[in-house]
């Protein structure tokens, strides 16, 4: 059971990474518009398209 001393801090590190990723995505504006990407996803890409325009 003393493995808990290793496992729990490890789990917390992973949580920390996840929280960091979330905070980064929120602060860089990726969560601003949650409706349009859902709609955009339904559109097919052009079959013969060249490089896509920068987003």
């Amino acid at each position: 059971m003393s493995v808990i001393y290793l496992v729990l801090p490890l789990a917390l590190l992973i949580v920390g990474a996840a929280v960091y990723a979330f905070v980064w995505s929120a602060r860089s504006g990726q969560m601003d518009d949650l409706d349009t990407p859902a709609v955009r996803m339904l559109h097919d890409d052009d079959p013969t398209a060249g490089p896509r325009p920068p987003r």
Binding site: A18, V19, R27, G29, L42, R55
Partner: protein, 827 residues
């Protein structure tokens, strides 16, 4: 007008079949069907849009599942002011890669496939690097190379596709709001992550209490919980402490106060117990408390955001510059610099920058901005024109009468802004209770502690803290915003777009309902209402009217889509009178009674009597064949089929109904009779300013009556916008002017007044769900507080009960029956 300006359909031997427009899918009127053409279109707007898509190989648009089902109504403006330096200063920024960036508000974005169009088509123009659409807010961000392409070209393209663009002025306020929203989101996310992990540790501890756990591991878990909860209080939870501090300083009772006390006391107690290694700790309850409260606050904030964007949009509707003629030369001046007496040169496709009188030229003006009517009105020398309206056909010279702040549009907009700000926020019941609740909880906690301190000092603090935790107002805080959020979401699926929860609360109780006439209670189009005459005359009339672009012709075409169109010879249109030509070998004259009479037609008494009996409120059209008047039609704006039933249903629920229209009083009175309005409640000849005054007067009268004093205004034009902003709840109707929809609290995306009845029903049910939630919260709090005071509640159990109560409220809101869950059946 010359004959060649009219298009006449090729003769068809059989009745025209039901043909659908290749772009928007709506039926094509028989007179516009072109035999032999591969694709048919219902209007030139759709034809143009199809041409653009086809030319660029974007036909895949027509395979998209959800397409806009309205014809393309391009405004036809040239948007030259978008290239003006003054525009650039206000609305254009520099994007990171050196390109220019601007945000445009697009009209007509109401469907998912609009994203596809708006994000793809502008990229086809050389120089446009990026076009992104936020479908919920109708805002498009465009990055483009100014050296390669003027912005006006992009704007024209968007217009041709059916999305007239406007500059978006709310950029700075938006940036602030975005920062707030992001900060809130971060807080919720962090609080949630911490709460989940603390609960895991707590789970281990609870199992340990049941099955036994070695002391060192229990200690480890307690210290871990402490270490996780501390940042939860310091980072996401800090808002409660700052709020409580502010409440103390201003001596106002705010919900943050007991929360902050509970958090601080609970944490202190838990920390002490962790160090002493004995006694209960309830960090999980604290962490969950922080998370649940932040979520509730977030929902509340989103629900109550006022539509301040509306005023920004309206300001973008007037052009920024104007061409002033002085001594033969024309120069450009900003619109604010215009003075009365100046002479403006307004070309076709431009908007008027000020109110004025036409000096030279004859053209037609689209006053949809002010009246909501898309039918252009003819103007010639001496006619008055208004700022913001569009000059459609030919260049005009206009003398400025009122400019800038004194123009009619500016005055209406100012009234809209003032009304929007003056509106007192409707205090939700939960907030009203909050102050009382806070006081009671604090008193109860203090009482518990003081009483217990003498009897059992060790229990005193625990019981007081248990009380503070269990009576957490999170159930109250969540109950109302949750129910409203769910109801608003469901209403949106039904085509009833509600902007704020307070609109639902006002709609739930009957008050005064003020309706516009044209386009709201009536269909807003010219339709054939009455026909007197033999059937054989109909094809003759239809053939003559088939190619005319006059709105009355539209009424005939829509009334008789299946009748055959016969060959017509020598047809011509007499301005202000009617049409004349040879149809199927007979000489036919169709037009106003005076026009037909002047042609020398004779009338039999029987026929004359029949014609005279038609409703005088409608537009009469007489038909003479071979010199004899044989038939007549009455055309007008038809009342909607479901209007009477809807109004009666609302009246039965206690609403007082009033119709307020800018149309002629006789017409309004006639419609009022048909819809069972009391004669005093069908008011005609109302100007936009008059409508606003009426609504304000009703509001003043109703202020004494809290339950029934509110005013709901339903309209569709900018001439309704000020009244809509002033009313307690403003409702914009399907097909209305964009400016009006922006100021309304509710937008009915479905045509017909049945949507209004459904809205009112849903609002009442939502209020019922809210009351149920609040009642449950109160009951739960009373029971919980009682148990805590009696010493039957440990803080541990309190911390379990509290999220359980929140969950119950959430479930209650979710399962509550407010609006129907399915999408409405296609008409």
């Amino acid at each position: 007008m010359a004959t060649d300006t009219l298009r006449f359909a090729a003769p068809a031997s059989a009745a025209a079949v039901d043909v659908a427009c290749a772009h928007c899918g709506l039926p094509v009127p028989a007179g516009l069907v072109e035999d032999g053409a591969e694709r048919q279109f219902c209007c030139s707007g759709c034809h143009t849009a199809y041409g653009i898509l086809h030319a660029h190989g974007l036909d895949r648009y027509y395979d998209l599942p959800e397409r806009r089902d309205a014809p393309v109504q391009a405004s036809g403006r040239r948007y030259e002011e978008f290239d003006h330096p003054a525009f650039a200063e206000l609305y254009v920024r520099t994007a990171p890669d050196g390109l220019a960036r601007t945000e445009l508000y697009l009209e007509g974005v109401h469907c998912a496939s609009c994203v596809w169009l708006v994000e793809r088509v502008p990229l086809l123009l050389p120089g446009v690097a990026r076009a992104e659409l936020d479908v919920r807010r109708s805002l498009a961000v465009v990055d483009w190379d100014r050296a390669a392409l003027p912005l006006s070209r992009v704007a024209q393209l968007l217009d041709q596709l059916g999305y007239p663009p406007h500059p978006y002025r709310g950029v700075t306020r938006d940036a602030m709001r975005r920062r707030e929203d992001r900060a809130m989101l971060v807080r919720i996310g962090v609080a949630g992550a911490i709460a989940i992990n603390v609960m895991l540790a707590a789970l281990a501890l609870y199992s340990g209490e049941l099955g036994g756990m070695e002391g060192e591991f229990a200690r480890f878990f307690r210290w871990t919980s402490l270490g996780l909860t501390a940042p939860a209080l310091l980072w996401p939870g800090r808002v409660f402490f700052t709020g409580a501090w502010a409440a103390l300083r201003t001596r106002a009772l705010h919900m943050d106060l007991p929360i902050a006390i509970a958090l601080a006391a609970g944490f202190a107690r838990g920390a002490i117990n962790t160090v002493r290694d004995s006694g209960p700790v309830y960090f999980d309850g604290l962490a969950v408390l922080v998370f649940a409260l932040l979520v509730g606050r977030f929902l509340q904030q989103r629900g109550q955001r006022a539509a301040a964007d509306s005023a920004e949009l309206l300001h973008a509707l007037t052009p920024m510059t104007a061409r002033v003629v002085e001594g033969g030369a024309a120069r450009e001046l900003p619109a604010q610099a215009l003075l009365p007496g100046m002479v403006l040169d307004v070309r076709a496709g431009e908007s008027f920058a000020a109110d004025g009188t036409v000096l030279e030229g004859a053209s037609s003006v689209n006053a949809a901005l002010l009246t909501g009517e898309s039918r252009p009105a003819r103007v010639a020398a001496g006619a008055r024109v208004y700022a913001g309206t569009l000059n459609v056909e030919a260049p005009l010279r206009v003398r400025v009468d009122e400019a800038g702040e004194t123009s009619r549009l500016s005055r209406i907009l100012r009234q809209v802004e003032e009304s929007a700000q003056r509106r007192a926020p409707i205090v939700l019941t939960a907030n009203r209770l909050a102050g009382i609740f806070v006081a009671m909880v604090l008193v109860a906690a203090a009482l518990t502690w003081w009483l217990k301190a003498h009897v059992a000092p060790d229990r005193a603090v625990d019981d007081a803290i248990a009380l503070l935790i269990v009576t957490c107002p999170c159930a109250l805080a969540l109950a109302t915003p949750l129910a409203i959020t769910v109801a608003v979401g469901r209403a949106a699926r039904r085509g009833l777009l509600v902007k704020g929860g307070d609109a639902l609360e006002a709609l739930a109780r009957p008050g005064t309902l003020v309706l516009d006439k044209t386009g709201t209670v009536t269909e807003g189009r010219t339709a054939l209402v009455d026909w007197v005459g033999p059937d054989w005359v109909r094809p003759l009339v239809l053939s003559l009217e088939a190619g005319s672009s006059h709105p009355l012709a539209d009424g005939f075409r829509r009334a008789w889509p299946d009748l055959p169109v016969l060959p017509v010879v020598d047809a011509h249109h007499v301005a202000g009178g009617g049409l004349e030509g040879i149809v199927d070998g007979r000489h036919v004259r169709v037009g106003s009674p005076r026009f037909v009479r002047e042609g020398g037609a004779t009338v039999e008494d029987a026929v004359a009597a029949a014609l005279a009996s038609m409703d005088p409120a409608l537009t009469p059209v007489h038909v003479a064949v071979d010199g004899r008047v044989v038939a007549g039609a009455a055309l007008g704006d038809k009342v909607r089929d479901d209007a009477r039933a809807a109004l009666d249903a609302l009246r039965a629920r206690g609403w007082r109904t009033v119709m307020l229209s800018g149309d002629a009083p006789e017409v309004v009175a006639s419609v009022g009779r048909a819809l069972a309005f009391a004669p005093a409640d069908a008011i005609g000849a109302a100007t936009p300013e008059g409508k606003l005054a009426f609504v304000e007067a009703r509001l003043r009268e109703g202020r004494a009556d809290r339950r029934r004093g509110h005013v709901v205004m339903v309209g569709d034009g900018v001439n309704d916008a000020a009244a809509i902003a002033a009313a307690t709840v403003g409702i914009g109707v399907h097909g209305g002017a964009e400016a009006c929809l922006a100021t309304a609290d509710v937008y009915l995306a479905r045509p017909g007044l049945g949507a209004l009845v459904e809205l009112e029903t849903g609002a009442r049910r939502t209020l019922r769900v809210i009351r149920r939630n609040i009642a449950f919260s109160i009951a739960y709090n009373l029971v919980g507080a009682g148990l805590a005071m009696a010493g039957l509640l440990t803080p541990l159990v309190a911390a379990i009960l509290m999220p359980a109560s929140s969950l119950t409220v959430v479930l209650g809101s979710w399962l509550g029956h407010t609006f129907a869950r399915e999408r409405p059946a296609a008409p």
